[in-house]
């Protein structure tokens, strides 16, 4: 390397430091909510640089932002984390004058039970958990109660998540998904204990590959994960259990600690844009909360029952709610007992 070729990049590097710094926004998101062009297009249009961090669970996200100086500006908690995060003082109040497209939300997300005034969150994506089945291996279980049938012994998995496993047990018992009385949790635990010998394992994302490989007859899973499996193995079928199932919505929030709330508002408004939402839905197989977007999706995606259940099916679904502290503690203990059994 001659001295000049070394000198020039060094000089331009120095100039880069002297130039006013680009405006940057730190976005903490689930791994599957950005399409390839989502962030580059935003950066081109606004000149704002986006740093994306991803997480795999609400707990992980909460543990990081709990300190109040995590450095993140925008996050995407599930609906049942909005209340607790608001009570902990972690969420900024949204400035509706800066969110021009809020009225694009579907009716049921315009006044959601967890934040009726949309004061702290914008619901953007939603989905369900249910059963993914392989009709080639065994009769399709149409209800959660079927997953207690010895017919499926060692050929099924449940999610590795106390809310989902006990939720399924509560639906089998015909009780509300969010039942939190000690007697309800104990009853659900007894059912889960009875089911454990029939299970191959408690798995989250790994179940997808086992279903595609034909190693499992059925598994409890999220609709998005199920759709990914179905796209590579079309004979698989996603079932909305007859005895009921869980629904969740992931919502964009601006953290109170953020020093770039105006940029964050700009980003939220961008995610509310129909073409942006359509691209995300089509590429990542997630249902969008924005009305009219379904029309913009490619035909096969728009017709996916997995992502867009009928109104009739939806009536069997229940939204997860936060658990009272005492119930949370009891459920954690029962979950440890279940795993150790």
């Amino acid at each position: 390397m001659t001295r000049r070729t070394f000198f020039l990049p060094a000089l331009s590097g120095l100039a880069g430091c002297l130039r006013p710094r680009r405006r940057r926004l730190n976005v903490f998101n689930w791994s599957n909510y950005t399409a390839r062009q989502t962030l580059p297009r935003f950066e081109r249009e606004t000149g704002i640089e986006v740093r994306l961090g991803v997480y795999e669970s609400d707990e992980e996200m909460l543990a990081r932002v709990l300190s109040g100086n995590s450095g993140w500006d925008v996050a995407f908690p599930s609906n049942y984390y909005i209340g607790p995060m608001r009570d902990l003082g972690l969420l900024a109040r949204l400035d509706h004058r800066r969110l021009s497209r809020l009225d694009a939300l579907e009716a049921r997300f315009a006044r959601p039970s967890w934040d009726p005034g949309l004061d702290h969150c914008v619901p953007l994506y939603w989905g369900s958990s249910g059963i993914l089945a392989n009709p080639q291996l065994a009769p399709v279980p149409e209800a959660y109660s079927s997953l207690w049938d010895p017919l499926y012994a060692r050929r099924i998995t449940m999610l590795d998540d106390p809310a989902e496993v006990y939720g399924a047990a509560l639906k089998k018992l015909g009780r509300p998904l969010n039942a939190s009385a000690p007697a309800d949790l104990q009853a659900a635990h007894t059912e889960a204990l009875r089911q454990k010998p029939l299970l191959r394992a408690y798995l989250n994302a790994e179940a997808r590959d086992l279903m595609v490989a034909g190693e499992l007859a059925a598994c409890q899973t999220w609709a998005t994960t199920a759709q990914q499996a179905i796209s590579s193995a079309p004979h698989l079928r996603y079932v909305y259990p007859e005895d009921g199932f869980a629904l969740y919505a992931d919502c964009a929030v601006i953290l109170r600690e953020s020093r770039r709330k105006d940029l964050a508002s700009l980003f939220l408004d961008y995610l509310l844009r129909a073409d942006v939402a359509a691209e995300i839905a089509a590429e990542t197989f997630t249902a969008t909360a924005i009305a009219g977007v379904r029309k913009l999706l490619p035909e096969p995606v728009a017709r996916m029952e997995t992502l867009f259940p009928s109104e009739e099916t939806l009536r069997r679904g229940e939204w997860f709610e936060p658990l009272p502290a005492a119930a949370q503690r009891l459920r954690d203990r029962l979950w440890t007992e279940l795993k150790s059994a």
């Binding site: 992980e60 998995t157 408690y202």
Partner: protein
Amino acid sequence: MTGRLRTLALAPAATLLALTVGAPFLILAAYACLSRGVYGGVMPPWTLENWQRLADPLYAGILARSFLVAALSTLLCLLLAFPLALYIARSTRRKNLLLALVMLPFWTSLLVRTWAWMFLLRDTGLVNMLLMKAGLISAPLPLLYNWGAVVLGLVYAHLPFMVLPLYAALERQDPALAEAAADLGAREWQAFWRVTLPLAAPGIRAGVLLTFIPCLGTFLIPDLLGGGRTILVGTFIQNQFTTARDWPFGSAVSLALMAVVLVLLWAEVRRRKEPLL
């Protein structure tokens, strides 16, 4: 070396240890005596409740099972590693190559290697496929998501930690000692049993410590290869800091685990009346 120079040279390591071991230890100790925040974190008042919960047979059972699994894995590691270390120590030409092969797995992340085991052990994995093709079995064997898979994963991951200290101890042994034993009429196995093995004791102790303690605390391997059906103390502690969001209890369990290991080490030192390692 003069006294002042020694202090100066030790200062960076001592500071680093104080910051990375001492401080987190004190934080854990404080957390373990506080109450849980509902959504993670800790809050007042100070309490001993986390320690009282440890007496619950449920948690004692998890601890006991973890010790059993770690002990079994360590024993298997020792049985596999000893002949290998002996072979490498006594081979003349390819010593460095063989040692490099033992270390080779460290070039890849443990996470990736554990996933590789999952692909091997699955129903449609390589092992089951080969056995079925060979006509030895008609249905896939349940190799994954059980205790066998967990122990296999632990042995696989920790084998190098057993081989290296054993090799170091065996390599130092003068081959003339075995020859002398033979001259004095010992058969080969007698020479091994009464000369080679006792002289390798420091290596065995170091290897057992380096294998047993990480086996006890690991959460990645039991979680992935056990399929969430099994719970060991490492997975349990991790769970307290994530899903269960009970940081104080998680801290108390970590400290209890540390205490049990220290007591065992101390008892061993006392028994042998000699310095550790």
